[in-house]
Amino acid sequence: MGSFLKRRFIKRQAVVTAFIFTLLLFVPILSHLIASAPDTINASAAFAAEKKEAVESPAAKKEEKSKVEYPPAPKLKEKDYPRIKSMNSRISVWILAQIHLFFAAFVLAVPIFVLVIEGVGKATGDERYDHMAHEFIKVSMTAFSLTATSGGILVFMLIAFYPDFMKYLASVFGSVMIIYAMLFLAESIFLYIYYYGWDNMRYGFRKWVHLTLGLMLNVSGMTIMVLGNSLATFMMAPSGVDASGVFTGHVWEAIRGPLWNALNLHRFIANIAYGGSVVGAYAAYKFLSAKSKEERAHYDWMGYTANIIAISALLPLPFAGYWLTAEIYAYSQTMGITLMGGAFAWLFITQAVLIGALFLSANYYLWCGMERIKGSERYTKYVKYIAAVIVICFLVWFTPHSLIKTPIEEKAIGTHHSLLGPLGLMPAKNSAVNIMILFTFLSFTLYKRSSKITTAAWAKSGVAAEIAIFAVGIVNIIALGIYSYMVTSNIKVGMSVPQVFTTLSIIIAISIIESRMFKNAKSTGDIEWGKMPARSQYALLLLAVSFTWLMGLMGYVRSAIRQHWHVNSIMRDSSPDAFTPTIGYAANVVSISTILFMLLVIFVFWLAQFAAKKQEA
């Protein structure tokens, strides 16, 4: 009874909160109405006056009146930056922005796949999906309030440390900022109703309402993300302003900068992979501390699903990354070279280590997962070859190609690797990435096959076709890579396109053959969920830790290639922190942010558990 009342209470609370939030949504609309009211009166007065004098058209007059004068970007001096004793402005803002992004990316990603899983549950009628979706969203509920809190602190810090910059940014993006805040309200409303209304809207027509709410939740979340991205891309590649930073008045031009869409796509995909990996870590923890067999089976399945989500998003990620880089080059060759060939060349070696860790742990988890499937013995013998290929690809990617910016850096880096030189060049790396992706896909295909025996009569030729496609594709990728060495660098960059195309074609073709071939397949027996070695769970953990850290590192480089500019080439950073830090320095800040983030997550789970215990008692 008590708990029932409690639930009712929570529900009522949610409805009241939602109501207040909805009212708040009207604030900008109301303010606009109020502000334009005297204007309308004036305009009609002017209209009346003009009717007598017939001088100017009222429309022109009104337009002149509503024309705002935008300021140019200010030129700051060091003293324009408020200092707070014993606090470093840039590091404080950096850490908070990073923690905010960690939470935000997670909160953005989870509803995406929750909605998909819920939809799958609805389509298949399998209740387990619905349960799992519900549990996923529960994990993100607590993260949601921390997203808001960290965002709030971040904004205050930005205003405290960089008031002139924020003022300038508001002169261009003021309207976007307000819409952003309002959308956040909308998102919370949808999230609250979506979560608390889960059981209530479980069946029948109500389920459709619930799914629609989930869609709205995602729409508002996505809009928030792309609006936030527009600020970041404006700082890197400003648009919608003239050379001195005076805003043209068309906010859409400012939003739709040259890097915007590429960043949107890369972040969208990366967020899903990241969200999947964090949920996977949660499931791993639950699995390892599970007491009963059922519990273990449940969390094994949850971890498996989370890992599939993470891998599916991981596969296209390098392509999105290259697109983003290509757009950066197209916008400014100086910036592109700073990114890939200047002081940051070594950062991409670090990135390669991380991505290698991601691919290897995801694959390792799949290989362990074969143990729970009867019939997988047929395929386990291939694992060692796949592992070898992935490791070789990783090493090629990892091979440094030292690109040098200034004589000073030349000394610090040394010159090319004499022996491994060609392997360190872009074509080899592109080929390696593509092959690594294909072999991960192969792991996944074998995993899926483990539990099935095909009944298709043409299975033999099907497999032969698959092998042929795979082999020809790999040869094609390598040939394209070798050919790239013989052409000028302009064309070289273009060579990655057919490589990517090859990879995608192979994945699509084999997926189609597989699904046909195993359409009416015999099962080798049930998958024994929960029959999973503990070490596999550490692969899930490594996936999450690496992802979190990588995200911080890449966020750093995105920001750092602006160098000493707040807004590239328009507003200079004149603060003492304008220098570009070394990678080690950045790595330390990223590690601190990651640890703080993990502590917060643990704290939140601890709170949740604490509350749950209390409720039971």
Binding site: A343, K405, E409, G584
Partner: protein, 274 residues
């Protein structure tokens, strides 16, 4: 609880591993500090001007990011520019406004797309658009006097003659600097002043300067004795500091310095122990 501890330790070890790799597994490249916002260029000799041009070319101008023979392929290598610049004007594709080699070089920087070296244009523009940034534009922001210094460097580095006018110091804030240049320069009173007078800081990290063409001199006193230092200034090519090119450091300090200035500098350098 035990599980919790185990996975926490695992996560922290993974993080430590990455942090360690980023700190010691790769060389720590210290990116160039932000360029000074307003550098005033006082009056100077053509030799000093050329040195300044080289410094801008490798530093603030960001030119070596693309014009770098080690990397190749990104941009033309800028060799023999005193001749190349004249030849460009005769190219039938040339549609710019320059009449002399000097003007061509200036135009290349102020309006890179006026003439695009074949094969180096932006992709798909058929060499009508240059990927090179406008050097006087906000991103790099070189002043006219700085652009002239770079032109002087480009013209002379492979044996040509500099044709640019010397800076008058008109855009330098303190007027005395210009007046000083007309009269024979007064001897420096302190070592720090001598460093500024002979522009050692343009190439060396020393005192308040952060030049990077030559070796860092902030710890030189710990390594070298006074006679070595004296010789390094009077006859730079006698010993070449490891990893640095010969013939870059001016050879004529011996003719320009007073004995007192030389001794002050040597003492000052000897005292630099880090």
């Amino acid at each position: 609880m035990q599980t919790f501890l185990k996975i926490s330790i695992f996560a922290v070890i993974a993080l430590l591993g990455y942090t360690l790799f980023a700190n010691v597994g790769i060389p720590q490249v210290r990116p160039a500090p932000p360029p000074a916002e307003e550098e005033t260029i006082g009056a100077m000799s053509m030799d000093q001007y050329i040195v300044l041009g080289k410094k801008i070319f490798e530093g603030k101008g960001t030119c070596t990011l693309c014009h770098n023979p080690v990397l190749g392929g990104r941009a033309p290598n800028l060799v023999n520019m005193h001749n190349t610049s004249e030849e460009r004007l005769k190219d039938p594709r040339y549609k710019g406004k320059a009449k002399t080699g000097e003007e061509y070089l200036r135009e290349s920087m102020m309006n890179p797309s006026a003439y695009v070296v074949a094969g180096f244009g932006k992709a798909w523009t058929n060499d009508t658009e240059s990927p090179m940034p406008q050097i006087s534009g906000p991103a790099v922001g070189l002043k006219p006097a700085e652009i002239n210094a770079v032109i002087a460097h480009l013209q002379t580095k492979d044996g040509g003659k500099a044709t640019v006018p010397l800076p008058t110091g008109a855009d330098a804030a303190p007027a005395p600097a210009a007046a000083e240049a007309a009269a024979p320069p007064a001897p420096a009173k302190t070592a720090e002043e001598a460093l500024g007078k002979y522009a050692c800081g343009a190439c060396h990290k020393i005192g308040a300067f952060a030049g990077a063409v030559g070796p860092d001199l902030t710890k030189i006193g710990a390594k070298r004795d006074e006679s070595y230092l004296r010789r390094a200034i009077l006859d730079p090519n006698a010993d070449i500091a490891q990893g640095f090119p010969a013939g870059v450091m001016p050879q004529d300090f011996g003719n320009k310095m007073t004995a007192k200035e030389l001794e002050m500098l040597v003492k000052f350098l000897k005292a630099q122990k880090g």
